[in-house]
């Protein structure tokens, strides 16, 4: 039907990529600066690996479900 041109999974990818960049980037900034936020278990540098994980997952969805690169089926279905 082509009623929607962008897959919901692409939107997911965009959001995760943006968050991955923002949070992962901040985590790296903390590492470089050598000073972390005053939270419990700060030495584990959660922003780095959690942000990195979101970035990888987000990029996967962005590439896999990029607009115009999808199977010829109702566009929003995203399978």
């Amino acid at each position: 039907m082509g009623k929607t041109d962008i897959s919901i999974w692409y939107f997911n990818g965009l959001l995760l990529t943006a968050y991955g960049l923002m949070i992962g980037g901040y985590g790296i900034y903390e590492l470089v600066r050598g000073q972390t936020a005053p939270v419990v278990l700060a030495h584990l540098h959660a922003p780095v690996w959690w942000g990195g994980g979101m970035l990888i997952l987000g990029l996967f969805y962005c590439i896999r479900f990029a607009p115009g690169k999808r199977k010829p089926q109702p566009a929003h279905q995203g399978e």
Binding site: T4, F11, L15, A37, H76
Partner: protein
């Protein structure tokens, strides 16, 4: 449970920011994370605005969603404040017993919906659950169900708003009215613009976001407590003599944190409330009705059940970790009188602040906001459909053009949000948010399940039987509630024990209401004339020829996956026995 007069509730609400010191300050990065999310959901609403020319597209997303999208939306619509704040608070009160809501209180019912009930909802081409009752039992049953659903939906949406505002107040010190209005306007915008399709798109987005924002808490929490074993040891040390870590072991008596016997869990929660909610609440059924075909509609609840089984990781586990690490949280009423103290209703944001610095804190807050907004969007989109189809079209304007109903749907979305805002101010005085929701469920959902299940499975059920069963069940529930409210000693009769706590009382009240509904429906039906098989085609088991479905490989078969989910469900119950 006490319902405060409206004025007192409002006054209490406005006083709260002065009583609490905020937990955290957001950094610019946190604001940026939240802003990105709001920009995305509003964009989706505008993006999908042009795709809602007909009422079928606006209210049922054109019936073209895949099983995955319908399935994730199916459980995401349910992940409002009740899931995130309410059950985290409940797990702090009741320990792992709260996980029953996700396992025996959800999984069997969701599988039953997909395998047994969905064919009738889908084949009848109904637009709503009250619409099914119209086809099966007639107009009076539909009207009763539609009005009770509309009332319940608005109240539930009010709970959502209260919980969201509570989080913003506790964590950030934000003005409670600001929080309510910003989230309400956002939800009203994207649902009124894009209809159910927009709600579903956002619910899938919110589902991913909730996991991204909330999963870090149990991971870091278990690291801090040195794993599950360490957490259990700390809980035992903090609360000697109390069992917070067994699912079934302590349910042989009422002497457990929930004050409930296993019969209340199995029959009250597991049978009546769970089946009532997951198989007749239009909020969730609407998502499955949007599926592109019957197979997708049957697979969607199975997919939803698989993910539902995992939700305790981000909801129940943080509450239990808090039992190990923060053993001094208080009931809301006590905390409000104690300077510097926090209540167990705030356990999830407390854990969030404990582990999350800039960026991650914003993500966690965004996850909570997303949860609240998905729950609110679920409520208002379902309210809009029921109001438009089952009240406005059925009772007020039967012959308008299709486009007119789309316009009514958009305006009723806004009306639903405004009514929810009013309801938000009524929920302040309750000791636990979840207990209140359970009371609502038992008022309306339990008898509705009795009516729908008899309607689908018993050809002999008549229109009069359906209506009087539904009415008597609802009145029974309200009557029992008032009885205990004015005479607490009545608890010994309603819940079989004076030691039963509020949640146990709700389970047993639901069981009573459902039983009365079934009994009255059967008795009245046997005394009245049933419809013919031809009239019941597409509506009742035994009178319906279901469409033949083409053979598919095992990995696409919903019966196979339902069996897998059922086995996993049994395993978690044994492991945490």
């Amino acid at each position: 449970m006490r319902i405060a007069p409206h004025g007192n509730a409002l006054a209490a609400l406005l006083l709260i920011p002065a009583q609490h010191q905020r937990m955290a300050h957001l950094a610019p990065l946190d604001f940026a994370v939240i802003a990105v999310y709001f920009a995305m959901v509003i964009f989706i609403g505008f993006y999908l605005k042009q795709r809602n020319d007909t009422s079928e597209e606006f209210f049922l997303a054109g019936r073209e969603m895949t099983a995955w999208i319908a399935g994730l939306s199916f459980i995401s619509a349910n992940m409002g404040s009740l899931e995130l704040m309410g059950w985290a608070a409940a797990s702090y009160q009741y320990g792992i017993l709260a996980a029953h809501a996700y396992w025996i209180g959800a999984i069997p019912a969701m599988l039953f919906l997909g395998l047994v009930m969905m064919p009738f909802y889908y084949v009848s081409r109904t637009h709503s659950v009250p619409g099914y009752l119209k086809l099966r039992f007639g107009e009076s049953s539909r009207l009763l169900a539609a009005i009770s659903f509309a009332v319940m939906t608005v109240l539930m949406s009010g709970i959502n708003m209260y919980a969201m505002a509570l989080v913003m107040k506790v964590v950030l010190g934000w003005n409670i009215n600001f929080s309510i209005w910003v989230s309400s306007v956002t939800v009203a915008s994207y649902v009124a613009l894009g209809g159910l399709r927009s709600a579903i798109f956002n619910e899938v987005l919110q589902f991913v976001l909730i996991w991204a924002g909330a999963l870090l808490i149990p991971i870091l929490g278990l690291i801090e407590t040195h794993g599950w074993t360490g957490m259990r040891a700390r809980i035992a040390q903090n609360f000697p003599g109390q069992d917070f870590t067994h699912l079934w072991h302590g349910l042989g008596t009422f002497n457990n944190p929930m004050g409930v016997h296993w019969t209340g869990i199995v029959f009250g929660m597991g049978l009546v409330i769970s089946f009532g909610y997951w198989t007749t609440d239009f909020l969730v059924i609407q998502r499955v009705l949007s599926a592109k075909n019957l197979r997708a509609a049957q697979m969607a609840p199975v997919i939803g059940a698989a993910f539902k089984m995992l939700v305790p990781v981000i909801v129940i586990l943080p509450g239990m970790i808090a039992l190990a690490l923060l053993p001094h949280l208080l009931p809301e009423s006590v905390a409000a009188q104690t300077p510097g103290a926090y209540s167990y209703n705030e356990v999830l944001p407390l854990m969030l602040v404990r582990y999350c610095g800039p960026g991650l804190l914003g993500l966690g807050i965004t996850a909570l906001i997303a949860g609240f907004m998905s729950g609110m969007a679920g409520n208002v989109s379902a309210f809009s459909a029921v109001w438009t189809y089952d009240i406005y079209q059925a009772q007020i304007n039967k012959r308008a053009a299709d486009h007119h109903y789309v316009v009514v749907g958009r305006w009723s979305t806004i009306l639903g949000v405004l009514a929810s805002i009013g309801a938000a101010y009524l929920v302040m005085q309750f000791a636990s948010i979840m207990d209140y929701a359970q009371a609502l469920f038992s008022f309306f959902i339990a008898p509705l399940f009795g009516t729908v299940i008899l309607g689908m499975l018993w050809k002999r059920a008549t229109s009069a039987g359906g209506f009087w069963g539904l009415l008597s069940g609802t009145l029974t529930s309200v009557g029992l509630y008032l009885w205990v409210h004015f005479n607490p000693a009545a608890l010994a009769h309603v819940a079989f024990s004076v030691h039963a706590k509020m949640m146990a009382e709700n389970f047993y009240r639901a069981l009573w209401a459902w039983s009365v509904c079934i009994l009255v429906t059967v008795v009245v039906s046997l005394g009245t004339t049933p419809k013919t098989d031809a009239e019941l085609n597409g509506l009742v088991y035994g009178a319906t020829v279901l469409p033949r479905q083409e053979a598919v490989p095992l990995y696409k078969n919903h019966w196979f996956w339902a069996a897998v989910v059922m086995i996993l469900f049994l395993m978690v119950n044994v492991v945490f026995w």
